[in-house]
Amino acid sequence: MSNNCFHCLESVPSGFSATVNIDGSEQPMCCIGCQTVAETIVSQGMTDYYKFRTVRAGKVQQLVPEQLAFITSYDNPDIQDEFISQTNDISEVLLTVEGITCAACAWLIEKQLLNIPAIKRVDVNTSTNRAMIQWDKERTPLSELIKSLMEIGYKAYPFQADIEASQKQLVAKAYIRRLGVAGLMTMQVMMFAFAMYFGMFSGMEENFEQYFRWISLILASPVILYSALPFLTNAINGLKAKQLNMDLPVSLAIFGAYIASSYATVMQVGEVYFESICMFTFLLLLGKYLEFRARLKASEFTANLQKLLPLTARTLDKDDQEHIIAAKKLKLNDRVLIKPGETIPADGVICSGTTTVDESMMTGEHLPVKKYIDHQVFAGTVNHDGVITIEINKIGQNTLLNQIIKLQHSALATRPKLVEITDKVAQWFVACLLVFASLTAIGWYQVDPAHAFWITIAVLVATCPCALSLAIPTALTCAVATLTRKGILIKQAHVLETLPQLTRVAFDKTGTLTQGRFSIDSVDLLVDSISKQQVLALAAQLESYSEHPIATAFNMYTPEQRHLYDINVHPGLGISGHDDNHHYAIGKSGWFDNSKCNAQATFYVDKQPVANFYFIDEVKDNTAPLIASLQAQGLTCHMLTGDASSAGQQIAQRLKLDSFKVGCLPQDKQSEVELWSKQNEIVAMVGDGVNDSPVFNSAHLSIAMDTGADISKNTADVVLLNSDLAAIEHLLIVSKKTRRIIKQNLALSLLYNGSILPLAALGLVAPWMAVIGMSTSSIIVICNSLRLLKL
């Protein structure tokens, strides 16, 4: 029997033995969670899941009662307004489901939910990790659906689609429809085109040829007038903005040739090019759609992130009775009770209780802030260890969090942009094309006026920048696919073009350059009677009961196996406990005495200080090599941190950064970056906190860590899924390679267009030659782009 859990494939811990009978053989399980899930799957007859899954399942975590209570709060009608839409008796909800890894998961979830009679329809999307559910809310509450997903090991929460995301969905669908029409119709048009090609060699009856032309016209019309329409609108929009973009030569060729061919059909003169322009439209749409889809996937991933603010709040009425209401219904001066571990729903002032608050999502600093009565707390921050009651003094748009978000939106409008390489190429391409086409027209008009028009059209079709327009989207799609495989999500199209031009990189400190968690830097023993190991072991045991962020620093030390009782957490002070002989405590310095020392924690035995601890936020292993390599490539590296302490300076000196600035507010970071871009520097910002999100929109390029705040991931152009800074170097390598491939592609396609141009101008290119030349050049370009997949 193997030692790995059959459900999640993790190793089975020694001492735990449980098996589940799956399709006739006993399979080992690693924990009660996995066992329960596997039993449910077997009892529902869904073992096909194990047969066909391609990716292992996640380890199942058991629910704690608080989470269950939280799920039940989704049934509150006020809260449901935000994510449930109702038509007649049927409600519709979009759930984000964590842990969907392959098609088998989707099947399992659909099967499980369809067992519930109230459910009308389930549609699981494995690329967005979302499930759309239509059901009768009266018969089964939403919380039951979520619990039923928990039974098979998936965590789900309602998804609130924002406008941008749903618009992108619409665009994606429009792309597919246009692509489908272009594909189906192009096949038909090509079929008739081939008949006409053969007719050209072996002769064809006049009326047949005319008939085929009419049929081609009818079949090509939807492709040109529906599928190719976005090219025309883009070109016109570009012209209105006084810009020549790539869509202009494309539209000139497609619509010019279409009009001329229709005229030729009706008037029974000249040549028709329906098959060329149909195929061209199809290939181009395909390239654009693939590029769009690659980016859509990335942005859908980050859109799944949970919202920053809680949906519910616990208000106290005059008689101190608790009521759970929707957070958006909070009013000024409401009193709200906040328990340990909960997220604060609105800005307010503490009116009773003391606590420490984790404001890291706001400031990026992980050291929790102590809060007493009359202190201000902010929406979105997490209450740590004390129970507090706050009086709301700011709601909605006025909260600090929303102010930061507003700052971020206003920065977006003025974001610096680089001219895209396509547009540069397009400008002179259009110019050359127009000049050449008019020269051809004028030249032929002198020689043979009857043929002048048709030869000009042939020039337009032959020089149609098909391969040229595919050169960039195909290369970008392949590069994005390669990067996604390495855990680097690219959300914006400009990223790969901006990267090779960077001149400066600015880093946030905590969580970006550093680990963002504490480790013990040094221990000062104050008495001789106890060894350092003993102190660490005792402290580790005490801290294992604490949820304070500093407690994680002790994780790596083996806790003492002593029996401690009376464990007490003292908010703002520390944690204490007894064994049979002594009283132990660890907490802030000067807890039991008035000693003024700057240690961050002190360990006490019988209320006498025994050891002082100093903590440090360690620099990530691969930070130093990355900075060195960036500097070797001629980039200047900066640090912009919100932390005002001396730690920033130490780190900057250790990493040999070119400059650093401490104690920055979000606005300060923004103005710093804006100053650089005014000096014509191309700046990238790497960060992770909410405080970084405004500056993300001021920089040319923004990179977020996966461990960072959700809002920063939503804003950033690039998300590093493994939060590994070394990925930035990989990103640079791929972007440089992509640039090289794009240049090759452009050269190849211009070579084709350039060589066929004189032939077309001399009137030597028949429609069938144009089709073959165009497809060959496109295929060569696509194959060249595919090389990026091998990086």
């Binding site: 529902q44 007859g45 096909d48 047969k51 699981v124 999307n125 690329s127 489908g180 189906l184 939807p222």
Partner: protein
């Protein structure tokens, strides 16, 4: 050969129907997740145990 004058319009009619079906499929979200639909044929939906739990 004049049969071609009738056959081709009929063929076009079929293409129109195909496009109609395609649009319907797009609206039904069948193209939003290409991964899942491809695998759906592998799964048995009517196992005995399954029917029991539906009762």
């Amino acid at each position: 050969m004049s049969i071609i004058y009738i056959l081709i319009p009929i063929a076009i009619l079929f293409v129109m129907i195909a496009i109609g079906v395609f649009f319907w499929a797009v609206r039904g979200e069948q193209f939003s997740d290409l991964n899942k639909q491809g695998h759906s044929i592998l799964f048995e939906d009517d196992k005995e145990q399954h029917n029991k739990s539906n009762d």
